[in-house]
């Protein structure tokens, strides 16, 4: 009898879908946009097979509001889009944060501003991390770098969304979404089962009041007009956001004795990883710090790397300087931070990053 192959060759976008389904996702709503079309396409056949619901919405506005509705029922649900489509979703992401519903939003970034292009870019870092929506809210932002991480991170995305009753964004780009790689589609060790995930919604989800433990109507709302109500609510959100900080995570490679730590995320971090490895082989003391959560930003782990002014940091990102601001806030002037930006549509290789890393190592231009 033939056994299912341990690893299958799929795109990051397909890994997102398989990860989401294995994590328990039951509803998907989306509107086509490159470079993430494999996500709705795969869901359109796989989700109904598993008894879930797929809707091709009339716009990203509609898609994210469908997500709000499904999430309000405590059903693991998601949408996906790219850049300008995510811009359209921001008002509702803010409503989701305000009414504490747990949706997952995947953004496979493309070039911008405006319609930009469909190539890789990391220019929505601010949009994702600082929140493009209105009001004082925060979203988890997870940054996969490989197709395998696309699969694995969907489990974290749903777990965090339900644990904190908060929107979670998974932020990839055209490289992460489009590249085909071998992926092992097996739930990570400590992943919740879909049943465990859904159980977390028992106290607040909408389902018709006779199904609640206490048969009283429930309301999920963000409008709080009575005096003091919004202040109290925002105070509790603030406490939640503080608690969320414990989920900050990063991968560190060769950081212990590094004179220069490269800070990069997603696909660029992966290329930087190769560059750093090659430079190590050539005897250069360089390391890589890769945030896997962009919000909360792993600032404590980064700060822990500052060693009496001897260590330098270089931020490499595919935009005109966004994550570098968070790195500078974390380092707080305690060490030199330089920056190397890559423009959209440039497919950099490890070789391309060699020169800027060496320059920073030698204390080169300090931007």
């Amino acid at each position: 009898m033939s056994q299912a192959p341990e690893r299958i060759l799929i795109k990051g976008n397909e890994a997102i879908v398989r990860g989401a389904l294995d994590a328990g996702c039951r509803c998907y709503f989306g509107y086509p946009i490159t470079p993430q079309n494999e996500i709705p396409e795969a869901f359109s056949s796989m989700l109904p097979e598993q008894g879930g619901s797929f809707v091709q919405a009339e716009s990203e506005l509609a898609a994210v509001n469908m997500l709000l509705g499904a999430a309000a029922c405590g059903i693991p649900a998601m949408t996906s889009s790219s850049s300008c489509g995510i811009a359209l979703m921001q008002e509702t992401i803010s409503y989701m944060a305000g009414s504490c519903v747990p949706g997952v939003i995947v953004n496979m970034m493309r070039g911008g501003p405006g319609l930009g292009d469909i190539g890789p870019s990391q220019s929505d870092y601010f949009q994702a991390v600082k929140g493009g929506g209105n009001g004082d809210h925060r979203n988890f932002v997870l940054a996969p770098a490989t197709a395998q991480e696309c699969y694995d991170m969907m489990f974290s995305a749903f777990a965090l969304a339900f644990k904190y009753r908060n929107p979670v964004m998974v932020l990839g780009d055209a490289i992460v979404g489009q590249m085909k790689e071998p992926v092992r589609c097996v739930p990570p060790k400590h992943a919740l089962t879909p049943e465990q995930l859904m159980q977390q919604g028992e106290d607040w989800r909408l389902e018709g009041y006779d199904r609640h433990a206490v048969p009283e109507p429930r309301v999920l709302r963000s409008l709080l007009l009575k005096e003091g109500q919004l202040a109290a609510h925002n105070r509790s959100l603030h406490e939640k956001y503080s608690a969320m900080r414990q989920e900050a995570a990063a991968e560190q490679v060769f950081c212990d004795d590094a004179s220069l730590v490269v800070v990069a995320f997603g696909s660029i971090a992966r290329i930087a990883h190769s560059a750093v490895r090659h430079l190590r082989q050539a005897g250069h003391k360089v390391g890589l710090f890769r945030p896997t959560t962009l919000y909360p930003f792993p600032e404590e782990a980064l700060r822990a790397l500052i060693s009496s002014g001897k260590r330098r940091f270089l931020v490499i990102e595919q935009n005109l300087g966004q994550m570098v601001e968070d790195v500078r806030l974390a380092i707080d002037g305690q060490a030199p931070v330089s920056w190397h930006g890559i423009l959209p549509d440039l497919y950099v290789g490890a070789e391309t990053l060699r020169a800027p890393i060496l320059e920073a190592l030698e204390g080169g231009k300090h931007v």
Partner: protein, 271 residues
Amino acid sequence: MSELLKARAGEKLIFDHPSVLSEAVTHYCPGCHHGIAHRLVAEVLEELELASRAIMVASVGCSVISYDYISVDSVESPHGRACAVATGVKRARPDTIVFTYQGDGDMGAIGLAESLHAAARGEHITAVFVNNTVYGMTGGQMAPTTLLGQKTTTTPMGRRMELEGGPVHMAEMMSQLAGVAYAERCSLDSVRHIRAAQDAIRKAFSIQAKGLGFSFVELLSGCPTNWHMDPVRANTRIREEMIPVFPLGVYKDITAQAVPVIADKVVEGRS
């Protein structure tokens, strides 16, 4: 039931309080029809025994806190997106009864796309559409349903065809869409029309309960505050100015034996 509503010695209770309607004092202006529309929905949910599995999608407009008055599980939608939110709810929980309650700005302007597409998909939801020809909540600006010549705070000269275009007819538009099972326009200006409106709302919810498609009820409603008239004159305005532009009647009913009667005939039959 609060003491105030109970029959005292020698009194007989002839007008009861539906359990689905909370006893909260509403924030609506005197003569506003949102209160009547709420009661009609609440009575139907009670009568059809649907309240305990109902989920209401509240929209943004004067009725934004309708969940304080209609006691069912509820979620708040961003302005205009109620039918998309309701789609998500119903897809996630097909075993619930899902309805939106929306004003004309919400459904006919900012949320026109979400409303028409949910209808076109034939989502198994019910939309209650309150057409008062103005944006009530924000202070009486022009709505997509504002009548030609009607003065609002943003059409101080009256709405002009050349500049602002003409009123949007939601019931007619809905009736053209394949997924719509039922579309009717009613009015809340008189007792007879209110009773007909309740029949329409009952029909709309039973069509959803049977899983036949999207159901839609438009309610012509008064806004005395923003129309700058007393409630009685507001009712007269509905009769004399609104109904001729927005004819009452069943625009689509896939459960009817014959082709639905055209609007005008129904008006005769009902008014």
